[in-house]
């Protein structure tokens, strides 16, 4: 049974995640994103970017492991093995680039029970190391009770 007292709280901010240029290339290849600004540094710089541009859903590569860490913590009481992803939104306050150092804070927004399933909404606020907003993501996760 998930612990409802987490709702409305935020976890401690993550350690900074260094966005790797090769990780962006690897992710772009995995999703078949062919834009040169994601794979070719010269092209990215020619288009006015400081480094490679991450595809719009790239943030999952560093937010999901943090979410998994929280959900596998027995203290919260979530059945990770039966979880499905209900919905996902990503707001990019600016593009994510190679070389960015990003800090993620998970906010436990909502927990409800519908038709025997637990429905959990987590919001990730992603900032640079100076605290400037970079992305806000929201995940609805569902698991059996």
């Amino acid at each position: 049974m998930p612990d409802a007292s987490y709702v409305g709280t935020a976890l401690a901010p993550s350690a900074p995640y260094l966005v790797g240029r090769e990780k962006i290339k690897e992710f772009a290849l995995a999703i078949g994103e062919g834009a040169s600004v994601c794979t070719d540094l010269e092209a990215a710089r020619a288009a006015g970017h400081p480094d490679l541009v991450a595809p719009p859903t790239f943030s999952v590569t560093f937010t999901m492991p943090l979410i998994e860490g929280f959900l596998r913590d027995p203290a919260f009481g979530w059945d990770y093995s039966r979880m499905v992803h209900g919905d996902q939104s990503i707001v990019l306050h600016r593009p994510i680039h190679g070389g960015d150092e990003l800090v993620t804070t998970i906010h436990v927004e909502d927990l409800s029970n519908r038709a025997g399933s637990h429905m959990l909404t987590l919001r990730c606020e992603v900032t640079d190391i100076d605290g400037a907003p970079v992305a806000t993501t929201k995940s609805l996760l569902v698991t059996g009770s």
């Binding site: 990780k23 690897e26 992710f27 290849l29 995995a30 999703i31 078949g32 994103e33 062919g34 834009a35 600004v37 994601c38 288009a47 970017h49 541009v53 991450a54 595809p55 719009p56 859903t57 999952v60 590569t61 999901m64 492991p65 039966r82 499905v84 992803h85 209900g86 919905d87 996902q88 939104s89 990503i90 707001v91 990019l92 593009p95 929201k138």
Partner: protein, 139 residues
């Protein structure tokens, strides 16, 4: 960025995209994303939890839907927001053809230099994403 289709207005349709997803694509995405859930690569585990077989990562389907938008916009950095609801799984058979995902999209609103796009993603004749909406800055 380059919008290739002339003036963008409500009703503008994006060039459709048909993509095939194979087991090899799932393995590659698992590695790139760090999502190693075995329902995306093990038939034994997938059928054991009641699925018809190995299914694509929801976030991979979302990323593929994103390609419809980035291809049209010309630059992935133009995407300001993107949201989807995962309504049906994309079942990926263990063969060379994989699963066919058909993507289409239409501009539903243009305001303050931002186009709102409603995306339709179909697999096996049925939609697999609900409320799939992207906001893209126009150049």
């Amino acid at each position: 960025m380059s919008i290739e289709t002339g003036p963008v207005e409500k009703g503008t349709e994006l060039p459709p995209l048909e993509l095939r997803v194979t087991r090899a694509d799932l393995v590659r995405y698992a590695g790139a994303s760090g999502d190693l859930n075995p329902i995306h690569w093990s038939d034994r585990v997938a059928t054991g939890v009641g699925l018809p077989g190995v299914i694509a990562h929801g976030m991979l389907t979302m990323a593929l839907a994103g390609r419809l938008v980035t291809q049209w916009a010309g630059d992935p950095s133009a995407v300001r927001s993107f949201g989807v609801r995962f309504t049906r799984p994309v079942v990926v058979p263990d063969d060379d053809e994989g699963a066919l995902v058909e993507l289409s999209g239409k501009v539903t609103d243009v305001a303050d230099g931002i186009a709102k796009i409603a995306i339709t993603a179909r697999f096996d004749g049925k939609t697999v994403l609900g409320r799939a909406i992207a906001e893209v800055a126009l150049g």
